[in-house]
Symmetry: C2
Subunit: 330 residues, 2 copies
DNA sequence: CTGAAAGCGCTTACAG
DNA sequence: CTGAAAGCGCTTACAG
């Protein structure tokens, strides 16, 4: 910028005023500056600008797994709206590991991101500790954490699972196996609560034998499903608490020589873009990924702009049961 | 840092030396500094550091589509190895749009990323122009661009498609429809070349009627497949040049009331994590996503470190044909 | 409308 | 081993 100022024979203040449109500049100087910028190939140094302004125009996004379609869909729309507002996004993955999560958040905080959008991993306290050292505006997605006062956009998980299980019950199923996410997470707990509530409402006794923990991971879900499938009185239906796990469930079903939906019905949380064209057409709970991303991005933008000084609020969205062909009457 | 220096009653130079371990500090001062850091809750400002050091410890990754499993898999491993080396990654998506690509690259260059890993979108000249203004170390993945002198890690696309088409020919197929990526891209061209070479080698005459352009997009591929499927002499097999497009192909097949593989065989570029458990089990060309990400990350790290001053080189990896159940003898 | 100057928080020769 | 000081490239009161 000094070079530009020098060759344009103006002060740096004027160059800055011109470049940022922050103050009027006479047509003459404007021409000289424009010319100087062209010939030098000047580009404003955003780092220096950040240092002075105290803002980096970037927000950190931390998700569990970039390989999970749910997160990528949400990420995609978040990026979209954030970019439109001139923000870059720095993406970090935690692999559902609180330690990694802490590292990633540190990395983001160090780089002075203006805001944080987090899909929390691990138990609530982990995130609480990670966030304690900073006062960067934060919005949570997918999960809520006790002890963290931040905006959040989540699903009404309990209601959604309740509906799905209800559908299964309506089909005559009584022994419905449930592959749960980690009970350490809000998501894991609230989905499981939906399962239990649905059974209870239908007067079907709960049985711990029918609940296994897959921790939102394919591998664990495979083992969990296996345990359910080898039971003498095999469940007639299986519900998986997320998309990764249902792959494991399907794999277990195949390895047991069973077929879905002929031998066993399957339903799951989270939709797949290809669900309608591959067999079995999975009956799932679709999350409003677009709305989730949109809302989260909007919230963080508001917080960053300081337009929103109100106490944090939670936006609760509804899931939608997509009935396809993976469930049969019992 | 001034605060820390003040309360520890030392100079900022000493604090800096301690924090970065860049010079020995006496045990006494070390204790005082440590204490001051604790009580103040000091964190080094990475922005100021970047400004002074001319390095941001972050690399920009620009891909076409975060929703595409191929890119997310590669992204996942790139992030992994980069994080391990203390680098953050800033992710941008181009939607295969050269204009957006230019914006994203600008955004990254502005923020002074130390390196760039790019899966080029659009035609070669677009990227060439976007990169012209900068001399940031760059490595290309997935696609090579004419006129750009950068390290690259790509697939031997022609060979891979050749193999897949050969397999189809071996099954007795003669009318093999081909859903191509954009011919403006190296990837689109080299994969198509593989198709043509395979037919030629088998003495099967080429027919433009059997080639349609899906531009790597599901929607376009759907239309392209439709055009192929309504032909009086319908192809007995369809090959899709990437993963997104095969979804469109399957959708077209379904909408035409056809079944795969009973009525028509299907094969595609790119594997899916769930390919073995959903029907039809797609026969595909699997890319070595892990190796691609690993190599790309390694290359950019070397370039950034300046350890590699050699002329740019291209790493060419081999695809692998995964024969499953979506292709039948004709 | 324009310019000289201070300062954002760090690092790093250069003296001591 | 430690400190005073300059400078990374910008923005922004403050004068003129």
């Amino acid at each position: 910028m000094l070079d530009v100022a020098a060759t344009a024979r103006v002060s740096v203040a004027t160059v800055s005023a011109f470049v940022n449109g922050t103050a009027p500049v006479s047509t003459e100087l404007r021409g000289r500056i424009e010319h100087a910028i062209q010939s030098i190939g000047y580009k404003r140094n955003a780092i220096a600008r950040s240092l002075k302004m105290g803002t980096t125009k970037t927000v950190g996004l931390v998700i569990a797994d970039i390989t999970n379609p749910f997160f990528t869909d949400v990420t995609s729309v978040i990026q979209d709206v954030l970019h439109r507002s001139g923000y870059a996004v720095m993406l970090c993955c935690t692999d559902e590991d609180p330690v990694l999560q802490d590292e990633q958040i540190s990395l983001l905080v160090d780089r002075m991101v203006d805001g944080l959008i987090i899909a929390p991993a691990g138990d609530d306290h982990a995130l609480e500790r990670s966030l304690a050292k900073t006062d960067i505006p934060t919005v949570l997605i997918d999960r809520i954490c006790n002890g963290i006062d931040a905006d959040a956009v989540v699903l009404d998980n309990q209601r959604a699972v309740h509906d799905a299980i209800n559908y299964l019950i309506g089909l005559g199923h009584r022994r419905i196996g449930y592959i749960s996410g980690s009970p350490d997470t809000w998501t894991g707990r609230s989905r499981l609560a939906g399962y239990k509530a649905a059974l209870e409402a239908a007067g079907i006794p709960l049985s711990d034998e029918l609940i296994r923990f897959g921790n939102f991971r394919e591998r664990d879900a495979y083992n969990a499903a296996m345990q359910l499938l080898v039971q003498p009185e095999r469940p007639s239906a299986l519900f998986s608490a997320n998309n990764l796990m249902v792959i494991g469930v399907m794999r277990a079903i195949r390895d047991m020589g069973l077929r879905c939906p002929d031998d066993i019905s399957v339903s799951s949380f989270d939709d797949f873009p290809w669900a309608d064209v591959f067999q079995p057409n999975l009956t799932v709970i679709a999350q409003p990924v677009h709305a989730i991303g949109e809302q989260a991005a909007q919230l963080i933008l508001e917080r960053i702009a300081g337009r929103n000084e109100q106490p944090s609020r939670q936006i609760v969205l509804a899931g939608r049961l997509m009935i396809r062909a993976s469930c049969r009457p019992c």
